[in-house]
Amino acid sequence: MPAPTQAATDHTNQTERIFGLFKTMLLIRAFEEAAHQLLTEGLVHGSVHQSIGQEAISVAVCGNLRRDDLIQSNHRGHAHAIAKGANPTAMMKELLGRAGGTNGGKGGSMHIADFSVGMLGANGILADGMGLAAGAAHAVTLKGEDKIVGVFVGDGSTNRGPFYEALNWAKVFHLPLLIVCEDNGYASTTATRGVTAGGGPAVRAASFDIPVVSVDGNDLLAMDAAAATLIERIRNGGGPHFLHAATYRLKGHVSRDPGLYRPKGELEARWDHEPVRRAEAWLAEQGVTPTEIAAARAAAQERIAGGVAAARAAPFPDPKVAYADVQDVGGPSWPK
């Protein structure tokens, strides 16, 4: 199956569209940088998994989904959430464990969810999102809705069994599911190539007769075109599709990880291919001025800075909140 190239032709103004996606990339980049900064200040508890260098995938996929479509995220979920429309300020409050956070302070970075925009949650257990997403797609079918479901899965996670079970499941039940593999070459400190046999996730997915498209995930235009095509096919009843996006994570596995396991020079070389800069170059070619770009960047940074300020100022949740939302029958009572 050849990679589609014509998908974006129905957008009347391609430059405007890409500029819009680009702005979301800037927002994600600014969010991720701020999150790490707050972590080093001791304000974020636990760890932060940044998506710096992978932003094009999230914005292209979510930019082609409707607001009422659903996505299932993973441990590296900030970008997915922002791209799907979650409020970065509420997210930042969540990272700081404050009242008003997306999850009321109960989840933190690895569990950000915003059901109001169809973001069904980040997830700390690798590949489990595959089954959950298949189930959500099953629910959509049962309810007779025309929504579709997207799920993000890392390359390393594709060596877990539930990944395959869910591929088979999605195909057998012909579910409206887009599986997006963000292949950044690493699983934590391990280069995935060394622990992955054969041609990898795309070849494996194809063995289930799921149509697969492989794309340069750092090329915003190619990503946008591929996502648009596959999402349209799925919406039209085409069943599950697999989008394999090659990318690279430009930061550590967690933001504090110095990444010493990478071969010398690799990181530096990869910075030259990072998606924000590439999209920026394309926009410049289309006549977007440096001033317009600078303004967009400033706007993104300002929005995140505002979120950070609001999060710093927000109170912690009332301790009683800990006892709520366990279960209706048999939940814990306060005080312990």
Partner: protein, 328 residues
Amino acid sequence: MAEMTYADAVREGLAEEMRRDRLVWALGEDLSTGHTSSSASQYKGLIDEFGPQRIVNAPISESTIMGSAVGAAVAGTRPIADLRSIDFGMCAIDELVNQAAKIRYMFGGQARVPLMARMAIGARRGAAAQHSQSYEAWFVHVPGLIVVTPATPADGKGLLKSSIRCDDPVVFMEHKELWGAKGEVSADADHLVPLGQARMARMGSDITIVAWSRMALLAEQAAAALAADGIDAEVIDLRTLWPWDREAVFTSVRKTGRLLVPQEAVLAGGFAGEVAATVAEELGTVLKTPIRRLGAPRMPVPYAPPLEDEYRITEKHIAGAARAMLGR
């Protein structure tokens, strides 16, 4: 009221709930075909009424049966994930514990997970180590889960219906040896048995026997035998292990001053320990004699009948322990 088997009762309960709410559905291996053979007879005929969209024959993929049920519950339906037994359910523990039980809480109440994880417990003759386990105690230890272990056909139906209507994940554990057992069952499609409420199986004044699932029936048999000896045992069938009916147990123990908790599962680390510890903490001063638990020796379930008999707790063990507690 009508007399019917446990399997018929729970099937009727499921059919009623599926008629009541078109978003109730079931998924599991052999669900739509199994009744022609030896498995999944509690789904017999449902495929004809509800079709393959709602009685879903799953691939052999326990992780995804449970995982997709979680996703489908979060997305607004009420799936019954049938894992057949807790033995196979072991292959889906992650999805149950790390996902189903946590989603409502860790997402700050944005989502609900109204699923039922149906996983039978219990040793059936000759089923051996990998097909005979009872792990109801595990799920009591997992916040977010409700744990249901009905002993009678009426409770099977009434609790199945309550479990389906429950907005939180319920681990529904039938006993493999009970599907063929008969009992009186209400025909009222709105007859529910509330979660968390014990059944007073027998009133008595000398000793309290607290049990659940098949062991509750054995406790009733033991109580009948004890009555012949002039011992008046009270038998409480917990029915739901989380939340469990502490008040019913406390009231009874305050009356009798003696507590015996038999379970089928391996004694060490079982739910009888939770009941015993709670009563020891709360009513330590009213006990006339130390609490006693019964449970299987800590061994996998062996195959040969005389070996398997070493594993099993019977009504005789219960009656014997009760007599000993009363000094008879």
